[in-house]
Each structure stands twice: as structure tokens, then as C-alpha cells.
Amino acid sequence: MSSTFDTIANIIAETCDIPRDTIKPESHAIDDLGIDSLDFLDIAFAIDKAFGIKLPLEQWTQEVNDGKATTEQYFVLKNLSARIDELVAAKGA
């Protein structure tokens, strides 16, 4: 998980010009780091490329809007890392 977190933290730091040392596993991408939906497209693009996956952003957004999930489940970085690991594992299965 740590390597996944490091990769996405580096992507966020570079994409959004956020100091790398302020990006923690507990950081919420939206609430703590102030990343908006447009910037998140760039991050999703970089994550998709780096891990060879397709983050299901539309599905996640729908689940949050429907009250079936919280933003924390997808946008707190340690949780995002876990979701990415799941997607990578599913791809390799």
C-alpha cells in the first residue's frame, strides 16, 4: 500500500503543485488538499496511466450522490490507495 500511496501522493504534488510533505495517507483529497473536480481529472488520468487501470470515477460519484458511499471511502488517500490496489489486483486476476 505504501508504494501505491507514494505514487499517488507524487502525482498529486506534481499535478496540483501541492508540497509533497503535506500529503498524508489520512489526507482527504477534496476537503484537506482542496483538489477540485477538474484537477482530479488530471490526477485520474495520471493514476490510470501509472497503474494501467481506469478509476471508476463516475460510479464512485454516483454512489456518493445516492448516499451509498461516503467521499472518505474514495478520496481519503489511504482508502484511494486501497481502491487502486483492488483495481490492479482485479485486472491481474
Binding site: 481529472l41 485520474a44 490510470d48 481506469k54 463516475e58
Partner: protein
Amino acid sequence: MRLEYFQLIDRVVELNLADRTIRSEATVPTHSTIFEGHFPGHPLMPGVLLVEAMAQTCGWLVLATTSFGRMAFLASVKEAKFRTFVRPGQVLKISARLEHEGSGFAVARAEINSDDKSICDAGLTFRVIDFPNSEMRQKMRQTAIGIGLSSEALADG
């Protein structure tokens, strides 16, 4: 190119859905009120309209990849470079490649050439969402037919 309708593309000359590429052409009008202001005595095609020509070409490519199931809205333009002036009457050849199809977004690169010279290029990101209404989808399909987008791209009816 019908600037008054914001139709920057005259025709699609090649669409390759397997390679996710498209080529289009457009002729800059010889007369337009735009040239009275940009610039007086020195008419030039505005760079923002060149970006729009690239965006529309990419947009048709995105629509074609979804069989007109979804609409592309321009979200960001990166590293747009304008290398050469474009004058009234010039024929533009626009090409684009879809680099990535994400969940609800698409990333493309596009460039414009004219007389074998590089005019401009940029990276463009689009939000890809359901059509806001069926009328818009129908109008976009009609426009697509008018600019020669292949029947393959319109396959799902």
C-alpha cells in the same frame, strides 16, 4: 468554416476508431467581421479559434468512439502552442488522437497543419457525459452527417 455558427470544421476526412484518430479540414473564411478587430489592417485567425477547431475535431472523435452515446465538453487545454500565423482563406488540416478514455473524461492531443507547416498543437481534456437532452444528440448527429463523419461512427442509430 462557419464562424457565425461556431462551426470550425468543414469536413471529417478520416476517422479511425481502432487507432482512435481523426483528421478534419477547414478553410478559414476570406471575410469575417472578426478580422476587422483581429487585427485592423493585418487579419489573422485568432489562436482561441484554432484551439476551438482542435477541440471540435477531438470532440467528434470522442462522440464517434461512444457511437454518439455521450457528449464531450471541453474541460482544459494544455500547452497550446501557436507556431505560425493563419490568414484568411488558408486551408487547415487538423488531426487528433485520443490518448486516454477515462471514467467520465477523455484526454486527446491535436495539431493543425497548413501547407505542410505546423500551425499549432495542444493537449485537450474533455468531460464526457450523457447528452443533456435528446434534441442535442439529434442535432449533433445531423451536423456529423453534414461534415462527413462516417456511418460507422453513427452506427447505433
